[in-house]
């Protein structure tokens, strides 16, 4: 037994504060974990001191000769203040994640020789069987305490239920009662808490007040992106300290960050898979971005939901939403990061016209379709295992779709598929899609989206609205939000000129277009392309004018594609983009385009007008000689390549100068890749590909 005074000594040492005392619930949680080996979920606002609880518990258990603590957290690394607290307690905390793979053997040795006291891994690691078998299992036999950060993700009802957490639940359910478990979260309403309890069983709940007394909230409806860009440009600089701007898509994160930088505001885009020059992988770059913000070296990070989980910066001055999040819990999770260690911070939620469509897309694409699932199960049925690449050859699905299906199937328990090394194998487990569950979750998300609308238009106190929605025990008006004050925290106005400039910026948001380099094996029998395309056949880096339906040119391209004629305005816009911003060098001396049998004149007619504007000749030398399936129906590399084999021929005068190769909608870019290679073979100069829009969402 360890008593409260002894634990208090540890707390004071951890915080380096001789006068510190336990916050409500801290000692009770420690007592339950170390003295009664109990299981506990604590629902406490960010900054309450959850890490103090598990570090002190770790210290006590280690002093009794127990094994190290395993912390499962979406954080890439412990926050600096956590590391310092751990160090003061003499706790050696290690992180094993994808950024330090080369150190794994050494880290494993440290853990196996019992020199580590705490080990931080991400939930993604826990759903990797190889990692579990080779790295975790050998050291798991001594784990003394298990901590699950962001425990609300366990629940189906959590706003951002993650497949990896589903796997984690299955692991936790199978751990005997003598493994103490601590779940922590800052965002869970009663339904989520009840669900976590139902899933883990035999686990106590402790909840504290979620109200953030230093946070001033405000909501604004600004329908157009141009207006929101203008508002950001004119007001972000005056917001307190540094902060986070949340967007719904990666594309928006990039766009907003670019826009802010153009207006002299240092901002960086952050999302899963973001890459930065000079960094080995995305995780390393993300950690760098987190540090930049932590050290206040930039004004803002423009992030998707990839940032937030566990990100703990005491002096975060503001959280602004460029688009509305999908639920109240998601919003509280994000805005709750602001102002926990300072007297004043702001949380501003902007909502625009496109939000609804984006969330509709998220909901409809959250689960794989029956047909995809069935085709993958069929493919695996008669095999002893296939790699993802082999699956691509067998089923006509996108790599992303294949991965979504495999992930979806593999977190079920029991699961119809299991991964062994790089091989996906069918298990002897019958499978049926749980449509009821999918429908229930989809409807739940619709309800949550409705609640966010209620928040945006709430006439009363905004903090009280959040607290009520989160089932806080004692919701009260905050006296600080825009509603309580009866006036905006930050002015909702912006100048007309900036808005016009924002509109122009959106229309100038062309995207680099990279064609393919490596062809799928055995896909080009007629053309004989194999392996890596030789440099001499590759195209240059081209441009895409817009994204399908976006706020710049995307909507106009989409409309015109349906009506069968691209308006002159688009030819003007492309010519302006080529002349003023892209400036391909060597400049194209002639134009050609991708032919279509279904719409023989749509693209060629546009290309001809573009040729006139650019004052260079148009030669339609790419001829289609074979009817193939629509390329947009080809879902992965192998099928996309094979569908194009022998389809085009070059016919007529091919100039040896640089050429602009035009298409309307680009998806995988294989069509442009093949046409460019054929043009080069026929003797053309460098090929500059150009498309009006891209069909991928970039979410």
């Amino acid at each position: 037994m360890t008593d409260r005074p002894a634990a208090l000594v540890l707390l004071r040492r951890a915080l380096n504060d001789a006068g510190a005392s336990f916050r409500d619930g801290q000692w009770e949680a420690i007592d339950a974990l170390v003295n009664r080996q109990e299981r506990l979920v604590v629902v406490q606002r960010t900054g309450w001191g959850k890490s103090s609880v598990y570090f002190i518990a770790t210290r006590i258990l280690r002093d009794r000769g127990r094994g190290p603590t395993l912390i499962v957290s979406p954080l890439l690394a412990l926050m600096r203040n956590q590391i310092e607290a751990a160090e003061r307690l003499g706790i050696r905390a290690l992180t094993i994640n994808s950024t330090n793979r080369t150190e794994w053997p050494a880290l494993q040795r440290v853990v196996r020789s019992d020199e580590a006291d705490a080990l931080l891994i991400s939930p993604e690691r826990l759903s990797n069987d190889e990692f579990i078998g080779n790295v975790l299992l050998p050291i798991a036999e001594t784990i003394g305490l298990l901590v699950v950060d962001e425990a609300h993700c366990i629940s189906d009802w959590g706003h951002d239920f993650r497949p990896d957490y589903r796997r984690l639940v299955n692991v936790l359910q199978r751990m005997p009662d003598n493994v103490p478990i601590l779940g922590t979260t800052a965002t869970a309403n009663n339904r989520v808490v009840a669900d976590v309890q139902a899933q883990l069983g035999n686990i106590a709940i402790q909840r504290g007040s979620l109200i953030r007394p230093t946070l001033a909230l405000q909501t604004m409806r600004l329908p157009t992106q141009a207006a929101r860009l203008a508002w950001l440009a004119e007001h972000i600089g005056a917001l307190p300290g540094t902060g986070i701007i949340y967007t719904l898509t990666k594309r928006d994160a990039n766009q907003v960050a670019d826009w802010l930088n153009q207006h002299g505001i240092a901002a960086k885009a952050y999302y899963s898979g973001v890459f930065g020059d000079g960094f080995d992988d995305s995780d390393a770059y993300r950690q760098h971005l987190e540090d930049l913000l932590l050290n206040n070296e930039i004004k803002a990070i423009v992030a998707t939901t990839a940032l937030g989980m566990g990100y703990d910066k005491p002096d975060l001055g503001f959280v602004v939403h460029y688009q509305a999040p999908g639920s109240i819990v998601a919003y509280y999770q994000q805005v709750g990061r602001a102002g926990r260690g300072i007297d004043h911070a702001v949380g501003i939620l902007m909502s625009g016209d496109e939000d609804d469509d984006i969330h509709e897309y998220f909901r409809s694409s959250a689960f794989p379709r029956d047909r995809w699932v069935q085709s993958i199960l069929d493919a695996l049925e008669d095999s002893d295992g296939l790699t993802a690449t082999e699956l691509e050859e067998t089923v006509n699905l996108r790599r992303r779709q294949i991965e979504q299906v495999l992930k979806f199937l593999s977190v079920d328990s029991p699961a119809p598929v299991i991964k062994d090394g790089s091989l996906w194998q069918r298990t002897p487990v019958p499978f049926r899609m749980d449509h009821d569950r999918i429908q229930r979750l989809t409807e739940q998300r619709e309800v949550e989206w409705g609640e966010i609308q209620g928040y945006i238009d709430e006439p009363g106190c905004l903090m009280e609205f959040l607290a009520r929605a989160l089932d806080d025990a004692d919701p009260r008006a905050c006296g600080r939000c825009a509603r309580c004050l009866g006036q905006p925290i930050v002015a909702t106005t912006f100048s007309r000129d900036t808005a016009i400039e924002g509109g122009r910026f959106l229309r100038h948001s062309e995207i680099a277009l990279e064609c393919k380099k490596q062809v799928a094996k055995d896909a080009f029998v007629e053309y004989g392309f194999r392996g890596n395309l030789p440099d001499a056949l590759r195209s240059e880096t081209g441009r895409i004018l817009s994204r399908w339906g976006d706020a710049g040119w995307g909507q106009i391209v989409a409309e015109d594609k349906h009506s069968g004629h691209f308006r002159d305005e688009l030819a003007d816009a492309v010519a302006e983009m080529i002349r003023d911003r892209w400036r391909p060098d060597p400049a194209p001396t002639w134009i050609t385009c991708i032919p279509s049998r279904n719409h023989p004149t749509l693209v060629s007619d546009f290309s001809e007008r573009l040729a006139i504007e650019l004052e260079i000749p148009f030669f339609p030398v790419v001829i289609k000689i074979k009817d193939n399936e629509p390329q947009k129906g080809q879902q992965n590399r192998f099928h996309q390549c094979r569908n194009l084999d022998g389809v085009f021929r070059i016919d007529g005068e091919v100039r040896d100068g640089p050429v602009l190769l035009v298409d309307d909608v680009v998806d995988s870019a294989w069509t442009l890749t093949v046409a460019a290679a054929l043009l080069r073979q026929a003797g053309s100069g460098p090929v500059w590909p150009l498309a009006l829009t891209t069909s991928s969402m970039g979410a």
Partner: protein, 440 residues
């Protein structure tokens, strides 16, 4: 499927989770576990109690040079590893069967007593484990002729309603099992390694899903091949069967040889040897040591379950269809009309932690014929059985079985099948038997 705390404790104490076990962490062997379990039982402790509470006080008085309290503490402390390992195994569709679970093969408990494993991992139709069958064993590197013979034997067993029990290794094992499965029969594979891999292989996966195959192993389902494990699992093949056939063996070496000798020594099941004249074959020597030549004009495999009287090599087993009867005479007498099918261990072999099945007290008050019918409902739920088979399983005289059979057939509760003569509960009765006690 969630394990009971008792099963969790048994797994923590006896199963290897990782790839390396330090001395302190070495899981208990079958014998060590049995020793420990009996002590726990004697002291009124459920293994689940070890998960909570202070081991030093719970185990005060337990002294064992090998099974130290330090070792027990380390093993019990592997809870996180148990969760991780079990999650993967169950996700792949594997199940866990501990000695205290209903459905644990009775024949193993009776024949091996303390040596029967505390935990089996498996995949497929559990009911097959209690349905007996014919064990077929032999070399991994058998020749074509032997393999063809084996596959045929498997098919024949299938058509006569017998399961094949084998080891799942390549060669003879695999031919026998696939032969039976291809003949729409059933098979039990007792694996020495790689349960997870075999369960997901296209070769066996569909058979598992259709309920015709069960694969089990007492070892970590991801363990690789290991000679010791391969040797020690042979006894389970014999003990799950009613008779055994050796296709090919090498004299004085290999698992087939030592497994066959083990069966001869313990007289678990009648042992039959395929005639072989190949140089270096151990087959003749096995017959010399007490096994029987497999008749080449064999019509009905049910003959293998008893010992053919024309065979001179069988004297030592004469009149004793199964070994446990001779060794457990006393226990059999106590059990009267046959021991209960599921659940608990018999008192002297192994302590029981499972609650007694509710039907047990009722059964004591039933007349012998009703008891017999209740057992028949269980026994023939998977397939029909011959009289020999039934008498062996229920440890009754054949004449008694015949008498009751006659009555049951005339009452229409049991139907008689021919070629060979077999009996099975009629489907209506089977259903009723399963609804018994749950009439609403």
């Amino acid at each position: 499927m969630q394990l009971t705390p008792q099963s969790q404790a048994m797994m923590l104490l006896t199963v290897s989770f990782g790839k390396s076990d330090s001395a302190d962490m070495k899981p208990l062997s079958n014998k060590e576990w049995a020793r420990f379990a009996i002590w726990l039982k004697e002291h009124g402790l459920d293994p689940a109690a070890l998960l909570k509470g202070d081991l030093d006080s719970l185990l005060a008085g337990w002294t064992d040079r090998a099974v130290t309290i330090v070792r027990v503490r380390s093993l019990i402390g592997r809870g996180a590893a148990l969760g991780l390992a079990l999650e993967k195994w169950q996700r792949a569709g594997l199940w866990v069967l501990t000695r205290s679970d209903p459905g644990y093969p009775e024949l193993l408990k009776r024949r091996l007593r303390a040596e029967s494993p505390a935990v089996f991992f498996g995949c497929g139709n559990k009911a097959l484990l209690n349905a007996g069958g014919i064990a077929v064993v032999g070399s991994r590197d058998a020749d074509e002729e032997d393999l063809a013979f084996t596959a045929n034997l498997g098919k024949e067993a299938a058509s006569q309603g017998f399961s094949i029990v084998s080891g799942g290794a390549r060669g003879v094992d695999q031919s026998a099992m696939l032969g039976a499965l291809d003949g729409d029969g059933t098979a039990i594979g007792v694996l020495a390694d790689s349960l997870l891999k075999l369960a997901t292989s296209s070769r066996y996966r569909k058979r598992i899903m259709s309920g015709d195959l069960v694969l089990i192993t007492p070892f970590n389902p991801e363990a690789g091949f290991n000679v010791g494990n391969a040797m020690s699992r042979n006894r389970y093949i014999y003990c799950l069967a009613d008779a055994a056939i050796v296709i090919s063996s090498t004299a004085d070496s290999g698992g087939t040889w030592s497994g066959a000798l083990e069966d001869l020594k313990n007289t678990w099941v009648p042992l039959w040897i395929k005639p072989s004249t190949a140089a270096g074959s151990g087959n003749p020597e096995l017959v010399r040591r007490g096994a029987h030549w497999l008749p080449d004009d064999l019509q009905s495999l049910s003959i293998l379950l008893t010992n053919s009287e024309s065979d001179p090599g069988q004297s030592k087993q004469e009149g004793l269809p199964l070994a446990p009867r001779s060794r457990n005479e006393e226990e059999d007498l106590k059990d009267g009309a046959g021991s209960p099918k599921s659940g608990e261990f018999s008192e002297e072999t192994e302590p029981s932690f499972a609650a007694l099945p509710a039907k047990h007290p009722q059964a004591v008050n039933a007349d012998f014929y009703s008891l017999f019918l209740a057992h028949m409902a269980d026994l023939t739920s998977v397939r029909s059985l011959t009289v020999e088979d039934i008498s062996v399983r229920l440890e009754l005289e054949k004449s008694q079985v015949n008498a009751w059979m006659k009555r049951a057939v005339s009452e229409g509760t049991i139907k008689k099948l021919t070629k060979p003569v077999r009996y099975q509960m009629t489907s209506g009765e089977r259903q009723q038997a399963s609804l018994f006690g749950d009439e609403l």
